[in-house]
Amino acid sequence: MTPQQAEAPEADLIAELHEVLWITRPDADVDLIRHAYDVAAYWHHGQTRQSGDAYITHPVAVATILARLNADDPTLCTAMLHDTIDDTPCELAALSREFGTEIAAMVGEFTRLHRIRRRGRKAAQAMAAAVSRDTRVLAVSLADRLHNMRTLQFLPQATQLRKAREVLDFFVPAAQQLVAQQLRMDSVPSELETLASAALARNRYARAASGRLVATAATLLPAATRNRWREEWLGELQTLPTRKDRGSFAAHTALGMVRLALTLRRRPADRG
């Protein structure tokens, strides 16, 4: 990196990645990963995220998420390069020359998965297909989505809702499947779920008084079930035609909250 670039936020991110690797993967091929960064930075040069950050900050963040999970070198390189094919003029043949066939194939597989989703085909099928192939590519896909969810507030509301729902419907199950396969991603499914549910809870009426009332009251509920109820109520709230209806719904629902919390906190063994 040139000295001018060292001031940029991506320099901090690269430094963080190095620190993480030092702990989780002391044997990592830092030069190779660094090379993947340079190639990705070259292709993404001039592109920005919705947040205004340089685009390259995203692949670095995704690689860092994976580095924390002890991902291997090809996975970390794939993370760095994951958007080069779809979002830049870079071609797989070039990646194959630079990084060899394994990494190029993984980036290709990631891109294929991504395009299937963009075409709107049943994404669950795509995820299932990925699980049967290279689980490392699915791990990159999950880390990509996790970072996108962490930075979701910069996207338009409709996109937020669609992405959040996608996450709950198949990214969380896919992540759980990876955990079941002992891929050391135990924290990923729960974080994805929390972020996605929070995004859904921030829907159109979540900021109106009625939505805030319901959301606040829901904090009384046990954490494990809170998001489900909040989404259910904010959804119902949204379908009510008038403000008065919504206010009344919110008030009554909030009144029932203590009783609901007590019901949910009672251990199932207490039944009968």
Binding site: N203, E232, E236, T239, G256, L260
Partner: protein
């Protein structure tokens, strides 16, 4: 007959709504309207019914809600066991009511009860 949960008046109304057609899944707002219960009463009941496994709930297929342009709904439906227990509970309740009414009717006015 002992049930896993107490059949209060509101619970009875929810069960009647669900039993009207146990094969049809219904969402919270719909049940609350049909049973004429406020949501603050309804949701704790739904949670109790669910814990007792009389009722199951699941999210609506997202494709449907996206096509309809609204948030997905949480649908509730009686389980097979729940439907059996619920209809038995409602029958028992109706019987008990009938018995009480006939015993009251048989009672002589003025014989029971305190003078005003």
């Amino acid at each position: 007959m002992k049930y896993e949960l107490r059949i209060t008046g509101p619970v009875e109304r929810v069960l009647s709504v669900l039993l009207a057609d146990p094969a049809v899944p219904r969402y919270g707002l719909e049940i609350s309207k049909q049973a004429d219960l406020e949501t603050g009463t309804l949701y704790p009941i739904m949670a109790r019914l669910e814990r007792a496994r009389w009722v199951e709930s699941r999210w609506e297929d997202p494709d449907v809600s996206i096509t309809d342009g609204r948030p997905r709904r949480r649908y509730y439906q009686l389980t097979r066991d729940g439907a059996e227990q619920a209809s038995r509970a409602l029958q028992d309740l109706a019987q008990a009511r009938h018995k009480r009414r006939s015993s009251l009717a048989a009672a002589q006015p003025g014989v029971i009860g305190v003078p005003l």
